[in-house]
């Protein structure tokens, strides 16, 4: 997907969705999973992903755990109980929005009005 303007507002929900399906994930893993699920159409930049992760953590929606892997620190994120509730809410909200958007973007039925 060439334009990122549509993705920006949905990253939070995407991250919450992935974490609701996985017990714990780290930054690179989230990035790769998004790429894989979108068949390479969505690629999160560092600048898009990490501020969101830190924001969610500071809002106590995510909890973290660090591990040493191959000589470096790896930080895993998982949802807190509150984060789980918000994830369900946000996923449903985005789903409804996508449906609305589809309805808006669907070819308009022809009207009988004519001048």
């Amino acid at each position: 997907m060439k334009s990122n303007e549509y993705i920006k507002g949905t990253i939070k929900t995407i991250v919450l969705k992935l974490l609701s399906e996985n017990k714990k994930m780290y930054g690179y893993e989230i990035n790769q999973r998004v790429k894989e699920l979108s068949a390479g159409e969505i690629e999160l930049t560092y600048g898009a992903l990490y501020p969101i992760l830190y924001k969610l953590e500071s809002e106590s929606l995510l909890t973290t755990q660090s591990e040493i892997v191959d000589g470096r620190v790896r930080k895993y994120y998982s949802l807190t109980p509150q984060g789980n509730e918000i994830a369900i809410e946000k996923i449903a909200e985005l789903g409804r929005f996508v449906d609305t958007l589809k309805a808006v973007l669907a070819p308009a039925p022809s009207t009988n009005f004519s001048l």
Partner: protein, 404 residues
């Protein structure tokens, strides 16, 4: 998957530092991400250099800098009670310094209020972190450390008010720190890479910039507080208590910086890590001992005051000479060795090793202020070099009462 060598990892880490990434949690996370990207490229047949260049070229100019700024702004927006009490403490300290400089009554009370506010900040910070990181290992140590530091602060309050019980409290807290911190070092050393996540290390890493900022604030006020008294020839007990408070806390922070090396490297069996453990722990224990008011005699007391600084300079010099990937490693090795002469000169002056000329120079106000300026310039020039910065901060703290 191709695992990168220590040297290759250090190369990427050095590049991140070069790009200005100083917020430790973000730095380690980006490092892991970049390494994964490089490993993926290498799986597709590239060698390290090409893989790293390919990953690097995909990152827009200043991207990481913007990312760090955005992350820091995001985190600072949240109302944090620890920050509020921290600011109250600084305000009290500022007033105490102002009152002292203007010779107004109430300096002692304000210093006391500052010590109380710092204790409240510590308690709130501990409760908060234990609550937020409820699943993390090491929560008991957070409580224990907080309890010991508050005992130390209480002892200083009792000393200021000349209340009974000051000395037993002071001895208890200093001996506890002298046991707990080296014990933690040994624990981290023996745990090596097996230790996954430890709350105390996590908190220190997450708050490094805040700790360094607080240390510099303490030093700044301490310099005004003590120098105004010194220049007027009125050095008092309050100034010395404040000096003890600042230098012990800063010393604890500098010593805690070694923990990261133990848990991130395969320290067991590594003779350099073992040497670091022994030398830094000996220096730390020596550093704490002058607070316990025993009649050590001039030679031992002076050695206890200055030898730890000399050891720290040596550790820093060896680190930059042998292990660092910093582009300034040669300069920093030389500067660390040069800084070693300051505690050495002060030790020699105390023990009358030199002629009166050298002793007069060391205690000369122009030299004192000139050296302080040099330290400030070094601090600004090498602000991204964590260990060297810590050495400068400790040297500045020791410079707080140059006649002591």
């Amino acid at each position: 998957m191709n695992s990168l060598s220590r040297n290759q990892i250090d190369q990427i880490a050095a590049d991140l530092e070069f790009q200005g990434i100083t917020f430790e949690p973000l730095k380690s996370e980006l490092l892991d991400h970049l390494i994964c990207d490089v490993e993926l490229e290498m799986e597709n047949g590239s060698d390290f250099i090409h893989a790293w260049l390919s990953v690097k070229n995909k990152i827009p100019h200043n991207h990481f800098n913007h990312l760090q700024t955005e992350t820091m702004e995001l985190l600072s927006k949240k109302i944090n009670p620890v920050r509020i009490f921290g600011l109250i403490s600084i305000a009290l300290l500022a007033f105490a310094t102002l009152f002292k400089t203007l010779h107004l009554a109430g300096t002692g009370q304000l210093l006391l209020a500052f010590l109380v506010a710092i204790s409240v900040t510590l308690i709130i910070g501990s409760v908060r972190s234990v609550k937020i990181y409820s699943e993390k290992k090491g929560r008991g140590i957070i409580w224990l450390t907080t309890f010991i530091i508050i005992s130390f602060i209480l002892a200083l309050c009792c000393l200021t008010l000349q209340l009974p019980g000051a000395e037993p409290l002071l001895y208890f807290s200093i001996i506890s720190i002298a046991i707990l911190f080296p014990a933690l070092s040994v624990y981290f050393y023996s745990s090596s890479k097996k230790l996954k996540d430890y709350l105390l290390i996590r908190l220190i890493q997450d708050n490094q910039s805040i700790i360094e900022g607080s240390a510099l604030t303490l030093i700044g006020f301490g310099l005004i507080f003590n120098y105004s008294a010194l220049l007027l020839g009125q050095m008092n007990y309050g100034g010395i208590i404040y000096f003890i408070f600042s230098i012990i806390l800063i010393g604890m922070y500098v010593y805690s910086l070694t923990w990261k090396y133990y848990i991130e490297s395969d320290s067991t069996g590594n003779r350099y890590t073992l040497l670091l453990l022994i030398t830094s722990s000996v220096a730390f224990i020596m550093f704490l001992m002058p607070v316990i008011r025993i009649d050590y005699g001039l030679v031992l007391r002076s050695s206890l005051a200055f030898v730890p600084m000399i050891i720290l300079c040596l550790i820093t010099a060896v680190n930059y000479y042998k292990f660092s990937n910093s582009k300034n490693k040669s300069t920093l090795t030389i500067l660390s060795v040069l800084l070693l002469f300051y505690p050495l000169l002060r030790l020699g002056t105390k023990l009358q090793w030199y002629s009166d000329i050298v002793a007069t120079l060391i205690t000369n106000n122009y030299f004192i202020l000139g050296f302080l300026l040099v330290l400030i310039v070094l601090l600004i020039a090498f602000r991204k070099e964590r260990l060297f910065k810590a050495l400068i901060i400790l040297t500045m703290a020791s410079h707080m009462i140059p006649s002591l």
